[in-house]
Point group: C2
Chain length 185, copies 2
DNA sequence: TTCTGACAGTACGCTAGCGTATGGAGCATG
DNA sequence: CATGCTCCATACGCTAGCGTACTGTCAGAA
């Protein structure tokens, strides 16, 4: 990796966000991690803010569009797609860590992206639930509820892993149950 | 406020946590906000870490013990207490903001406190649900679920307020419904 | 009134991180 | 081979914030 691209930096920045929030996006430490120096960074970006922006864009892409596309491509019944969706998001620890940091951020620019991401995810959830036979209103209500439950779960898993596992047993059976109760008319 | 106490500093630090996370606990800016200087701070505390610690202790007290005591003192049926509990936590924006920041923090010391707080809250929820007639196992499962839903809700309310309100209508009726479904055997 | 101790202000050095300027290294192309 | 372009390293100045040392102030005890 003798020569870096802007995407390399954005990826590393997203990594930093996952482990320490936007505040952890610091040029010099990331440069060290990439085995480079600031010289490289300031070639690809104008300022630190642009790196944060790029990382957010990357996150937005990966955590919504990519996930949705992957689920849609796999196909299957709406219920099967729901189940696959839950499986994906629970596994992708890297993505959920970024989620946690970003949802807690107070910066307006971050919140704008987060809101867009949340909206898109909820829209997709609602569309699946409509396909399952729910009315648009009910589908939307359930989608919002499911999404907020999802947020709470990753939060709790992150801050105190034992608490959840001890009362829920297997995560995959838990996801089964959640999907089941969401789909039930 | 010509003379400050250690508690004044801790309170201001908790405020800083609410609005910017633990990273926002910076001695000099807080000194300015208190109309003082570092000279005061380093009289009351040995180092910045001690201030963070004090703020966390304050949060732990207020967001668990105080809330629980207040609900218990008001009395009423377990269901009424549950309802009162939800009303309290949804209103206390200051507390929930701190919650959001702290649940997202990666520092082991913070996570230790957060885990203790979560455990205590879940324990209290479970005890109320047992009083409502649930078996211990069921009460605990529901308590964990309710708590994680709570976390998700404050998260969503914080990062994108409109998303929740638009699909849920009145927050107080929402709380009614949640309590109702929790209590139902 | 004087003295003492609790409390606060001021001045200083130190580190981390941002941003800039400048000087290469290496490759491509004439 | 010379030239120029792309990419990176190094060195520098600047700010925010931590922690320390010393100096001041004021209330109450003696």
């Amino acid at each position: 990796m003798s020569r870096l691209s802007g995407d390399d930096w954005a990826l590393a920045a997203l990594d930093a966000i996952s482990s320490g929030g936007v505040a952890a996006v610091a040029v010099e430490p990331i440069a060290v991690r990439l085995g480079a120096t600031k010289g490289s960074f300031y070639w690809h970006f104008k300022a630190r803010g642009d790196l944060v922006e790029a990382a957010l864009a990357l996150w937005e892409q990966r955590s919504t569009l990519d996930v949705i596309a992957s689920v849609e491509q796999a196909g299957g019944s709406p219920k099967a797609r729901l189940r696959r969706l839950f499986g994906l998001v629970f596994d992708a620890a890297a993505l959920t860590h970024a989620d946690i940091s970003l949802h807690a951020d107070a910066d307006p620019a971050v919140r704008e992206v987060v809101t867009r991401v949340s909206r898109r995810r909820i829209d997709y959830l609602a569309s699946l639930l409509r396909e399952c036979g729910h009315t648009p209103r009910a589908a939307r209500r359930r989608a919002v509820f499911a999404y907020s439950a999802f947020l709470g779960n990753i939060q709790l898993m992150n801050s105190s892993p034992n608490l959840l596992e001890s009362s829920v047993g297997s995560l995959s059976r838990y996801a089964d149950a959640v999907v089941e109760s969401l789909v039930r008319i």
